[in-house]
Amino acid sequence: MVSSQDFGEFETAWCPGCGNFAILEAVKRALADSGTAPHQALFVSGIGQAAKSPHCMRCNLFNGLHGRALPVATGAKLAHPDLRVVVQSGDGCTYGEGGNHFLAALRRNIDLTLLVHDNQIYGLTKGQASPTSSAGHVTKAQPRGMPSDPFPPTAVALTMGAGFVARGFTGMPDLLAETIREAMAHTGIALVDVLQQCVSFNRVNTFAWYKQRCYELEADYDPGDWHAAMQRCLEWGDSIPVGVLYKSEHRRPLRSYYPFLEKEPLYAQKRDLDSVERIMREFE
């Protein structure tokens, strides 16, 4: 039995009151609930406040570049499919710098959990707009207010054919832990976009702002209905649905394209010089 404590307690570098604390706890619980021991998990993160999360727990970790967590995770998962791979990073990292990898990972349907700490702001660099910042949001970098509409992560994931699309909120910690657990159990890519307060730089989308608007999806909500899911993904403003918005296992994960991966991970496969010899002789 794995317990939440197995993942340890560490000092963090976050502001008191930051939403990252709640997400960190939820992740540990989800790991424990799914029976994943620290050494069985590989976390891959980018750069930002969110991306520091896995440093605050016991796990295998590759903390890479800003925006580039997904390709690193893709490589690692293909090399070693037994690892439970979780990508954890911020909204700026994932949807901004990393936007192209977000699209590609969804298409690839690589088998991993993508956890986005969505505080609708660039936290670590002190408060510029992120792709999910609301239109009109004023920052030092956008002194006349953000001119564009926000990037809609769940709707785009759905449009791209993702098989698991969910939204979390740090103010609903039990639901969050359960959603993450479910995401980990999904085969293929699973997106959990977590609404998270940034107490230092996002004075628009505060904890209270989210609290007022977030509601849990009804018990009879059917996450298998794509069109209903699209409706909920686009629902934003006065009310924001939270939970598993869409779920389906109709798509093959990328791994099935490489049948030999079913046998053993790449590091364990023996170099086959006889085959190389045969291939070489094709050039005779």
């Binding site: 903390n63 580039r68 390709p71 995770a73 293909l78 070693h80 190389v276 070489m280 005779e284």
Partner: protein, 562 residues
């Protein structure tokens, strides 16, 4: 190249199957026992335009591209117009009668359309004619055709055989064989007809590379395609990435998790990988990138050749960390150095670059079968440790190269970080740790130096003239030196197969002992010459260079030497 060497040029539009003829001719010649150099010259388009293959056949190794054509195989009229001027005394033009009007004495206008079952098979018929003209063993070519083109269908096999026979007979019936083609070389054991890209892919396979992430880019796509073709048999993940940034980061992730990764690209893609290279440096993750150079800047000349990215390979990626840059000059060296690169990347836990260029990547030569059994074992990461709780990824006490364990292969935890980190891999802002970590990373330079491939020397100990070079210009330099020696001059050569790290003791004495030093490079600014001065203070006397998109050749060297 001997006196009797012959240059065959096959020209036509993109889409006329030149590549097939070129490849078949190359393999057939090698099977017949000849030495060859087959270089490709193509435009950045799929149909039309003007492309050509140059095939030098000889009975001794062919080192350098050369001018002059002895047999011009013209698949269209434009080929005759463009290349007629290069025809040597006694040369012949073999042309498709339906495509050329010319009716000169040296033109053999073959009525291919009458000899082939379908237009599609014209190239095979041309091959038949060429084989006849060159008096090549017919059976060898018939077998080859069957092996290569027979797989598709009975029907296609038959039609190819007929086309070949048609072209062959027509020559026997209507022409005499070519004057003085070289006789086959003495048997030297089994041989291959292989390009640089193919040799790189084969070297990678031999070294157990099993992860290749790539974004297509000329001239390196072939490396990935060669690996992809063997993916199932060898268990290779060959994944086309969404862009080059993804390609390099995927390779790093795969490597971290235990794969042996290789990433082929060209200058533009390599530029995009700079941050990833720095990441490999910081996280100490093995990474091999094959940089197939082409003329830049930017998109430049996508299908031509240049040696303009040496400095890019040396310095790309921010911050300071060790790396190695290998610069093969022949398909054999492509094989050897790729094999070595994959081992070295793991051994030094660093990024290693293999630099080729379009000329080397695409040109085919005869090489001896590689002795796979004799290859040295390669370094491997660890999977287990006795005290998993105590494992730290970046331990200080192991002389730079810390013990690298894979994640998920035991209960130990592996933490790698792109931020400055403590030995256990966690982010730190402790500035004394910083200094020690920089020192630890830079200490790996010693490992790289110990494993550095020395430059290859040839010629007298204290030559009057020393030609130095790197990468694909090697052959041209060897050839020029041999020409000059025949003229009685004292000429030495120095070919750098590795340009980083440079170990001055390996070559400085030779530079100093030469009367005059001339650096030969396929670029405009003399990047190796500058590097040597930077690393040793030694100033090369002169630069011979070329940057028009074509490979360095002996003639260019002679012309600029005077």
């Amino acid at each position: 190249m001997s006196e009797s060497a012959i240059q065959i040029r096959i020209g036509g539009e993109a889409g006329q199957g030149l590549e097939t003829v070129g490849q078949l001719l190359a393999r057939g010649l090698v099977r017949c026992g000849y030495e060859i150099l087959v270089s490709q010259n193509y435009m950045s388009r799929i149909r039309g335009g003007h492309n050509f293959f140059s095939v030098v056949m000889d009975n001794e190794p062919v080192l350098s591209p050369a001018s002059g054509v002895d047999l011009l195989i013209a698949m269209n009229g434009e080929t005759v117009i463009r290349h007629r001027g290069e025809l040597r005394e006694g040369g012949h033009i073999l042309a498709d009668a339906s495509q050329v009007e010319e009716d000169a004495e040296d033109v053999l206008a073959v009525p291919f359309s009458e000899l082939v079952p379908e237009k599609l098979y014209t190239n095979t018929a041309a091959l038949g004619s060429a084989a006849a003209l060159l008096q090549l063993d017919r059976e060898i070519f018939e077998n080859l055709l069957r092996e290569v083109l027979g797989g598709k269908s009975e029907d296609a096999a038959k039609k190819n055989a007929d086309a070949f026979a048609g072209g062959h007979s027509w020559i026997l019936d209507n022409s005499r064989p070519l004057q003085g083609p070289p006789s086959p070389a003495l048997q030297q054991g089994e041989r291959l007809a292989m390009s640089g890209n193919q040799a790189i892919a084969l070297g990678a396979m031999a070294a157990g590379a099993n992860f290749c992430s790539f974004y297509p880019m000329t001239p390196s796509t072939g490396v990935a395609l060669n690996l992809a073709a063997q993916a199932e048999e060898l268990g290779i993940v060959a994944e086309q990435a969404e862009d080059e940034i993804a390609a390099v980061n995927m390779a790093i992730g795969a490597s971290f998790a235990g794969a042996r990764s290789i990433v082929p690209t060209s200058g533009g893609g390599f530029s995009l990988m700079a941050e990833g290279i720095s990441l490999a440096g910081m996280t100490e993750t093995p990474l091999v990138i094959v940089l197939g150079q082409r003329p830049g800047p930017a998109t430049g000349l996508p299908t031509r050749t240049e040696q303009g990215d040496l400095q890019l390979a040396l310095y790309s990626g921010h911050g300071e960390f060790p790396r190695a840059v290998l610069t093969p000059g022949t398909p054999e060296e492509c094989f050897d150095l790729t094999y070595r690169a994959l081992d070295l990347a793991e051994r030094s836990q660093s990024p290693v670059m293999v630099l080729t260029d379009q000329y080397l990547a695409d040109s085919i030569r005869a090489v001896a079968l590689f002795s796979l059994k004799d290859l040295p074992e390669t370094t491997k990461p660890g999977t287990e440790t006795e005290k998993p709780e105590e494992y730290v990824r970046y331990a200080f006490d192991q002389g730079g190269v810390s013990h690298r364990l894979l994640p998920g292969t035991g209960t130990h935890l592996v933490v790698a970080d792109s931020d400055e980190h403590t030995p256990d891999g966690h982010i730190t802002e402790d500035l004394s740790v910083r200094t020690r970590m920089v020192d630890k990373r830079l200490a790996k330079r010693r490992v790289l130096e110990e494993n550095a491939v020395p430059p290859e020397m040839d010629g007298p100990e204290e030559p009057e003239l020393l030609l130095l070079t790197w990468g694909s210009s090697k052959g041209a330099v060897l050839r020029a030196a041999s020409d000059l020696r025949k003229q009685g001059r004292s000429v030495g050569t120095l070919h750098f197969r590795q340009v980083c790290p440079l170990v001055p003791e390996q070559f400085l004495p030779r530079l100093r002992s030469a009367g005059r030093t001339v650096c030969v490079e396929g670029n405009a600014t003399g990047q190796l010459a500058r590097l040597i001065r930077q690393e040793t203070g030694f100033t090369v006397d002169r630069l011979i260079h070329r940057y028009d998109g074509l490979p360095m050749d002996a003639e260019t060297i002679h012309a600029q030497l005077d």
